[in-house]
Structure formats: structure tokens, C-alpha cells
């Protein structure tokens, strides 16, 4: 019985979480202390009892490091207690960011796989494109983001006649795709080249077409690489969508929320937006992991 409990995943996560929370509370004391001392100093308070001091340090309005219960309370207040369609609700923002993330991740994954396929199958693409794909990732996206907003947004609203919201959504999705296609492309190039020579030779003896070789050998061999890359890619997508919310006018979404929080020094708000974003990321990675398990089971992979 006890064995089963200590070996269960929720228990393990719980213990690790508990340790983290303890460290967190402990860290909050030295980080927020100087400010608290300033307050006491100005108020002329001397000899504040330690318990009160700790209580104050853990409950500042604009702490340097908010404490877990402050963040949890803020998340609770802005999710459960507010209707989800209101801008005050974090769910509202989470959904806006998530939708752009999913769109961007979809585009990025397809693009990444497509590029990898081109690179693996076409000599000229392999030699000429790969270095530029790498170079593209060294361009700081935030520097490019305003450009995407200014030009892209104009094209979407002007030439294509989209209203601002879908145009903004698309701009974000593009940025998100831009960040996520790369890990997928790099991983897939590696994965598509992973089959052993003898496995390729076998298909060569059947004079299999490139498409047949792809679907029957390269694709299944690349799956482990694809899933590892997709986990990185989906996280990158979320970062991209959040980043894309900065220059697009900080209108709505978790990124906008983070930013808005920071304008007004609302650290608790920043941290709760941060947490929701991370929870979102963890869920997305989990979704990829579950898909991986499912696919592995379907393929009858050898249990490790």
C-alpha cells in the first residue's frame, strides 16, 4: 500500500512541489525585507516582532517576490470569481494566447516538417536552405515583431480586409510559428536521416519510391525525434504568442497582461499571469507527451 503511494506520480509531484514552495517562502523573506524595513523606518516602528515581520513580508502589495498564497489567491480571484469572457478574467487572456499558440504551433510544425522533408529529399535545398533557416532563428523576433505588425497587420487589414482582431491573431500566430518551426525542422532532419543503412537498402531493393520510403521508413524512424522536438516547439510557440502580444499593441492575452501588470508595478499580477502561462505550457507539453504514448502504443513500440 505505502509502496504504491510513494511510487505514484501525484505523490512525487506533490513532494517536489512542497519543497519548491518552502524554498519560495523562504526566499521571499530576504528579497522583500529591505522594502519592509524602509516602511518600518518611515513609520518609525522599531522592534517589530519577528512573526509580524514575516507576516508583513509575505503580504506586501507590490513585493519583489510575491508569495505562493498571494499568487494563488490572485489566480483564483481572476479565474473563478470573474466571468471568463471579461477582460478581468485570466481565462479570457489565456484563451486568446492559447488560440494563437495552437494556430502558430500548427503552422510551425507543418512548416518545420515540410522543410525537413525538402531538405532531406532535395540536394539543392539541403545545401542552400539549411544555413538560412539557422540564420533566421538568430534574428531576434521582438525586433522583427513590430515589422510583422506594421507590414503584416497592414496587409491583413488593408489588402485582405480583415478586421483588427483576426489580423492581430494572425500576426501573433506567425510569430509563434516562426519560433516553433525551427526545433521541429532541426529535429526532423535528424530523425528522417536516422534509419539504418540496411533498412534503407531493403526498400531500395524493392525500388520503393521516395514517397514510399518516406511513409514506411523515414517517418516512423523520425517519430521519437519529432515528439522531442514538438515538446520544445509547443513551448516555443507559447513564448512566441506571448512575445507577439507585446508589440501588437498590448491589447489582450497573457503577454499583454504581463506587460500591463508591469506598467503599474503589480508584481502579483505579473506572477499570476506568468503562472497561468506556465500551466498552459505544461498542459500543452503534457498533451504532446500523451499523444506520443498513444502513437507509441499504436505502433507497438517496445516498452523501455
Amino acid at each position: 500500500m505505502g509502496q504504491a503511494l510513494t511510487r505514484s506520480t501525484p505523490f512525487a509531484i506533490g513532494v517536489v512541489l512542497a519543497v519548491l514552495v518552502l524554498v519560495w517562502y523562504a526566499a521571499a523573506i530576504p528579497m522583500n525585507a529591505p522594502w519592509q524595513q524602509g516602511v518600518y523606518g518611515r513609520a518609525g516602528a522599531v522592534d517589530v516582532p519577528f512573526t509580524q515581520f514575516v507576516g508583513d513580508v509575505w503580504n506586501q502589495d507590490k513585493p519583489i517576490l510575491p508569495t505562493p498564497h498571494q499568487v494563488v489567491r490572485e489566480i483564483w480571484n481572476t479565474t473563478a470569481l470573474v466571468p471568463p469572457h471579461m477582460p478581468r478574467s485570466l481565462l479570457f487572456h489565456a484563451w486568446i494566447t492559447l488560440s494563437a499558440t495552437l494556430a502558430g504551433f500548427g503552422i510551425g510544425t507543418v512548416l518545420g516538417i515540410g522543410l525537413a522533408v525538402l531538405i532531406v529529399h532535395n540536394r539543392a535545398t539541403n545545401r542552400s536552405l539549411m544555413p538560412w533557416i539557422i540564420a533566421s532563428q538568430t534574428i531576434p523576433i521582438l525586433a522583427l515583431a513590430p515589422l510583422i505588425v506594421v507590414i503584416g497587420f497592414n496587409i491583413f487589414t488593408g489588402q485582405l480586409g480583415l478586421p483588427p482582431d483576426p489580423a492581430r491573431f494572425l500576426s501573433k500566430a506567425i510569430i509563434s510559428a516562426y519560433l516553433s518551426f525551427f526545433p521541429v525542422a532541426v529535429g526532423m532532419v535528424k530523425g528522417l536521416r536516422a534509419p539504418e543503412q540496411i533498412q534503407l537498402d531493403l526498400l531500395a531493393t524493392y525500388s520503393a519510391s521516395p514517397a514510399q520510403t518516406f511513409w514506411r521508413l523515414r517517418w516512423p524512424s523520425a517519430l521519437p525525434y519529432l515528439f522531442a522536438s514538438m515538446k520544445v516547439g509547443v513551448a516555443a510557440s507559447l513564448v512566441g504568442a506571448v512575445v507577439g502580444e507585446l508589440p501588437t499593441g498590448a491589447v489582450a492575452g497573457l503577454g499583454a497582461r504581463l506587460l500591463a501588470g508591469s506598467y503599474y508595478g503589480q508584481t502579483i499580477q505579473i506572477w499570476s499571469a506568468l503562472f497561468v502561462a506556465s500551466i498552459l505550457a505544461a498542459l500543452l507539453v503534457l498533451a504532446v507527451t500523451l499523444t506520443e504514448r498513444l502513437v507509441n502504443r499504436r505502433l507497438g513500440a517496445r516498452p523501455a
Binding site: I13, M130, A143, V189, P224, G255
Partner: protein
């Protein structure tokens, strides 16, 4: 100006390009193809002026096609070992880059794109030449953060992967939380890191460390599981202990995955360091320069920085890729290529 007379070379190029269709009936030497492509590129640059007429754009497309053909033929020759790998492996992407730049120059100048939106490569180049001192100082500042953060982030991800691998408890408890850290959005943590580590490069290094940590963790964990069953059994028959199995089998087998992460991270680190500088910095650094110069409408300087970033980043990536080739030479993806 786009005067009709100016288009004469374009006409010559078009005629030559059309003639070169003969190659399908009668193979032309590679040199002829190369000369044609380069001639076309020169013609485009030569005739370029504001408000170009339609034939010019058709010419641009033709030049692009001609160069693509050249690149394709060159790649084939290399594959057949009729051309040496060494200079040409570099020449091909450069050629691609030249076409990209010529197209960019042609579009920005030929279609009159305002330079505050997108400056022409020639303007960017001029800017690079006049600002080498600033660019160099910015590069140094930013790379301090890139290298430190990359080392810390990759190191942490790797060590944690080992810890996770070592202990089933951590695997269950920590791995799910690892993905939690992965998406701590950079714009959220950057201000916090500035708050914690100050305005100078250490706060940027911290951001880079957080960003690069997860790809390394995920790939290392995947890689550590990549060794085959019989290969493991072999070591188990020697009663090899955990660390021996790790060093002799599982790390080498994980090599391709780890390098995957190292490569992805080399670009992530640069983006991270630059973006982190947007959130408070001293008045030097690539990120600082980019964002402040956008505000000053000096977009050519912005692109000069971006060009530097791309160059430095590609070099960084290239070094990692070279090490990868040397270390994981045995992997089919390297052996076969």
C-alpha cells in the same frame, strides 16, 4: 532611372536565359550556367532604380530561377564527387544569400519601400561600415550573456536529466515541472531577472539559462532512453554500475539528441539575450541598440545589428554542428550524409 535604355542589359539577359533552355537538349557546361546566373544578378543591380516597370520584375524572377538551377547542378556535381565538398559547400548557401540580398535590394529600391520600414541591403552595409565600433561593443556585451547563459542552461538541463534518469522519484515529480519552466515567458522573467540580478549582463544570462534549460532537459531525457536493449544487456552482463552504463553506453547513444538540443539552444540563447535586453539594460548591447534605434527611426542600424546577430549566431551554430559531426560520426544521419 528605369528608362527603357536602362533595360537593354535586361533584354540581353532574357534572351540568353531563353537560349539557355537549350541545355535540356544539349548540356551546357556548368561554367556557362554560372556565368549566366551571375550576369543576371549583375544586370538586376545595374538597372535598378526607383519605380521599376514590369519586365524588371520578370527579370528578377528569371534570375532567381537561373540561380536555383545553378545551385541544383552544383549540388548534383558535389553529390557525384565531381566537385570538391570544401569550397562549394560554402559557396552554395552564399549564392542563395546573394540572390536573397539582390531580391531584397531590388524590391526595397525598385518598389520604393520607405527606409524606416525596410532599408535596402546597401544602406545596411553602409551603416555597418560606419558603425563597426558600436557593433563590436554591442556584440561583446550580448555574447557575454549568451555564452554564460547557454553554459548554465544547457548544463542545468543536462544535470537535471541525469538526476531524473537516476531517480524514478524525480522522473515522476520533476519532469512534469520541467515543462512548467519551459514556457515561463521570456518577457515575464526578463523584468524579474533585472530585478534580481541587476541591469548588466548577468540578468540576461539568467534569462538565457531559463530558456535553454528545457530543450536540453527534454532531449537529454529522450536521448538517455535511446540505447538499444541488447546494448544495455551487454553492460548489464558485465555488472556495470550506473555511471559506467551512463558513460560507456547511454551518453554516447544520447549524443544525437543532446546535440539536437545544443543546436536549437545556440539560436535560442541569442534570441533570449537580445530580447532580455529590451527590458532594462546598460546603454550597450545588441538588444538595447535594436530597440532604441527603432525608436529613433534608424532602421538601417537595427538591421546592421540583426545582420551581426545572424552572422554571430550562425557561426555559433556552425561550431556546434562541427563538433556534432566529430562526436556523433557514427550516427546514420552523419555517416550517410
Amino acid at each position: 532611372m528605369g528608362a527603357p535604355g536602362g533595360l537593354a542589359p535586361l533584354a540581353i539577359f532574357s534572351a540568353l536565359a531563353a537560349l539557355s533552355l537549350l541545355r535540356f537538349a544539349h548540356p551546357l557546361p556548368l561554367l556557362a550556367d554560372g556565368a549566366l546566373a551571375i550576369f543576371g544578378l549583375a544586370v538586376i543591380l545595374f538597372t535598378l532604380g526607383p519605380a521599376m516597370p514590369a519586365p524588371f520584375w520578370a527579370g528578377l524572377v528569371a534570375v532567381w530561377l537561373a540561380t536555383w538551377l545553378l545551385v541544383d547542378r552544383l549540388s548534383l556535381e558535389i553529390a557525384l564527387r565531381r566537385l570538391p565538398e570544401q569550397p562549394f559547400a560554402l559557396i552554395i548557401p552564399l549564392l542563395f544569400g546573394v540572390v536573397l540580398l539582390v531580391g531584397w535590394e531590388a524590391i526595397t529600391r525598385g518598389a520604393g519601400v520607405p527606409s524606416v520600414i525596410l532599408p535596402a541591403p546597401s544602406a545596411i552595409w553602409a551603416r555597418i561600415l560606419t558603425s563597426t565600433g558600436t557593433l563590436w561593443a554591442d556584440l561583446q556585451q550580448t555574447f557575454k550573456a549568451v555564452l554564460a547563459g547557454y553554459a548554465i542552461g544547457c548544463g542545468l538541463g543536462f544535470v537535471l536529466a541525469i538526476a531524473i534518469d537516476r531517480s524514478g522519484f524525480l522522473k515522476r515529480g520533476l519532469l512534469p515541472l520541467g515543462s512548467f519552466v519551459s514556457a515561463l515567458p521570456i518577457i515575464g522573467i526578463a523584468p524579474i531577472m533585472v530585478m534580481w540580478f541587476g541591469f548588466d549582463w548577468p540578468s540576461k544570462a539568467a534569462v538565457v539559462a531559463v530558456m535553454t534549460f528545457f530543450p536540453m532537459l527534454v532531449n537529454s531525457v529522450a536521448g538517455l532512453g535511446a540505447a538499444g536493449a541488447m546494448e544495455r544487456d551487454l553492460l548489464s552482463s558485465y555488472a556495470a554500475d550506473y555511471w559506467q552504463t551512463l558513460m560507456k553506453l547511454r551518453l554516447p547513444a544520447a549524443g544525437p539528441f543532446i546535440f539536437n538540443a545544443l543546436k536549437i539552444n545556440s539560436t535560442l540563447a541569442l534570441i533570449g539575450a537580445i530580447v532580455a535586453e529590451f527590458f532594462g539594460s546598460p546603454v550597450v548591447g545588441m538588444g538595447f541598440r535594436i530597440s532604441s534605434e527603432v525608436g529613433r527611426m534608424n532602421v538601417d542600424m537595427v538591421w546592421a545589428e540583426i545582420a551581426m546577430a545572424a552572422l554571430a549566431g550562425s557561426a555559433f551554430y556552425g561550431v556546434i554542428a562541427l563538433i556534432e559531426r566529430a562526436v556523433t560520426f557514427w550516427h546514420p544521419s552523419v555517416r550517410g550524409a
